[in-house]
Subunit: 339 residues, 2 copies
DNA sequence: ATTCGTACTGTAAGCGCTTACATTGATTCC
DNA sequence: GGAATCAATGTAAGCGCTTACAGTACGAAT
């Protein structure tokens, strides 16, 4: 009766249709180079057997996979979600499949993921931020895998990037805070190690302080992980000092939301008792009470343009052109004048 | 001088180390079956050349990839993030890599993603919910790919699943709402088509109504997409009727947050003027004001157990055992007695 | 009728890896 | 001392696909 039915191969299709494997392959890849009659016969066999090409074999023989890999620091909050969604949509339109991994903000895991993706034949990679071991870039170059850096932009670094200037953006926001009369500012930054976005944002605040001729001591800086609860804990730390800050600037919206929550728990009114700011302008920023003053980042645009650029790099082998996008301030309820 | 340097293969390593390809392969896969001296020589060559195994070739020859694929309806909000993170962590511990795709709630795209992942050699698949074309399951069975359904559990369906009873969970919440005296209830459901979770949750509310001997007209049901803004729009629709509801039950927390927001914009106090409930208990539920009454789902536990179960299915080829987890109510500020 | 060109199709050589099986020495045992 | 055993390594046959190259048949041009 039935053989132990294993999954059909191109060979099976060829036999069933009474043609050579080459013809079947051509049917799949260049239908117009095959006579209509033959093609119909082959397609019939394909349907009958439920044949699906083996991707690994195809990739090995053709040296292309139409797969793009992306490694983001986290899926747990929405920071990268929107941009990535746009990235995927654009890729899909161009016939590419996106595979995503998350590194939990750990360089070690990111490296593993990069290797995993490259080994699986990714034609190109999207990475968040510049800051990683040079050996990683060396490896990627040796493997000839185009890499696009996103969510950051700097003239210093050699990698092709599509992003925005984290430092300058934060400086603008900090200037606004200073303009409102705040002179003692708590800063809740993300972990700086291996995260240039966090570094740049922090630097942006320092720059504003310096260019306004204020002392570095105006700032009380805490570094913590990007979680709501961490933001809450850090808020306590930043407030439990002698010179209580009148404003707390956070490294992103997630931290800011944590701070906002803790402020409420402590019975503080925002912004009357203390102002709080975020960064990224994720959906959350407009949902919390009070709504959050933050830096708006054009996530979807960044995702789309990154897709276009990366595909272009993959297909034409060039280094691709970097592109700087503009962020903008979103002044909302959580920021007010210093009391 | 330098040849156009292409990426090194196992063969290059073998030559460079002066051994056969078999020995190199063994070095990689079963180091203890190779003499220490030889092994060192081979590893030296590997480092020198910067060799990395070609995944496609390896998969093709070994028929294993140690890759698990997951397709979730969306990355845009945090519904699946936490569970998936746990899923990934557990997989990582067991030596598997997770590749994620999102289908944007579109069955068509989900099918493509499934094929893409299978073609790329995924050893197993995690899918959300049961409801999909039978041909998909047939295809997966033919390809011999173990599939685990998550985020849902039903005794009816044949697929192995790790999840919870969406219907019964929602019934419990609805009962609570009824107990508080609500008799006119607005329902903001997710789109039911191709989404058994949405269907089950809606059914859960209907069941509660029926078992309390109340007329079906107590309910005013709106179907919409799972976005905050959709929740807001639907809230308007559900409130702009003659018999204004005293409670609005939402298909998930995202919709509920939208409703909450719009309620505030309309000047309604929650829960004094209207109660609002959600489902999932994502982080957001505790952050909004007022905090959201919802159904807590053990996301992390579900993720971990799903990983264990799926790996077991992949490695032992069995159908695996389904597992029902328990949800629980989280009564918070947004639910109060009917006025 | 011969010669080409054209349009299809087939042949077979890889792509980079794993693994069953064969081979080779060295060691052990009686 | 020779047979048996064993650890280490090599040989080579695929895995499923693509593609350069080589036919083959047939109508058109000469």
């Amino acid at each position: 009766m039935n053989e132990a039915r294993s999954i059909p191969t191109l060979d099976d299709v060829a036999k069933s249709a009474g043609v050579s494997t080459a013809t079947v392959s051509r049917c799949l890849n260049f239908p117009d180079r095959v006579a209509k009659r033959t093609r119909d016969r082959v397609n019939g066999a394909i349907d009958k057997l439920g044949y699906v090409p083996n991707f690994g074999a195809r990739a090995m023989a053709a040296k292309r996979t139409f797969t793009i890999g992306a490694i983001i620091p986290t899926m747990e909050n929405a920071i990268f979600a929107r941009g990535l969604q746009a990235f995927q949509e654009e890729l899909h339109e161009r016939g590419y499949t996106l595979l995503v991994s998350s590194s939990a903000y750990q360089p070690q895991i990111e490296q593993e993921q990069i290797r995993a993706l490259v080994a699986r034949g990714a034609d190109g990679l999207l990475l968040i931020g510049y800051d990683r071991d040079p050996s990683v870039y060396a490896y990627l170059e040796r493997q000839n895998i185009p890499v696009l850096v996103a969510w950051a932009f700097s003239k210093q670094d050699p990698q092709t990037a599509i992003g925005f200037d984290n430092c300058a953006s934060m400086t603008r926001l900090a200037q606004k805070v200073l303009d409102l009369g705040h002179r003692r500012i708590g800063v809740i930054s993300g972990m700086n190690k291996g995260n240039d976005r966090a570094q740049q944002r922090l630097q942006g605040i320092k720059d504003a302080i310096a260019s306004n001729g204020l002392p570095a001591e105006s700032l009380n800086i805490i570094e913590t992980t990007y979680e709501i609860e961490s933001g809450a804990v850090a808020f306590d730390q930043v407030m439990d000092v002698d010179a209580v800050p009148t404003a707390v600037m956070c490294g992103n919206d997630v931290l800011a939301v944590g701070a906002l929550q803790r402020a409420r728990e402590r019975g503080l009114r925002v912004p009357d008792d203390v102002s709080i700011t975020g960064f990224d302008d994720i959906e959350l920023a407009r949902i919390v009470t009070p709504t959050l003053t933050t830096v708006h980042v054009p996530h979807r645009e960044m995702g789309r343009k990154a897709a276009v650029a990366l595909v272009e790099m993959v297909e034409n082998g060039g280094a691709g052109a970097s592109l700087e996008l503009q962020s903008s301030l979103r002044i909302r309820e959580s920021l007010g004048p210093a009391k």
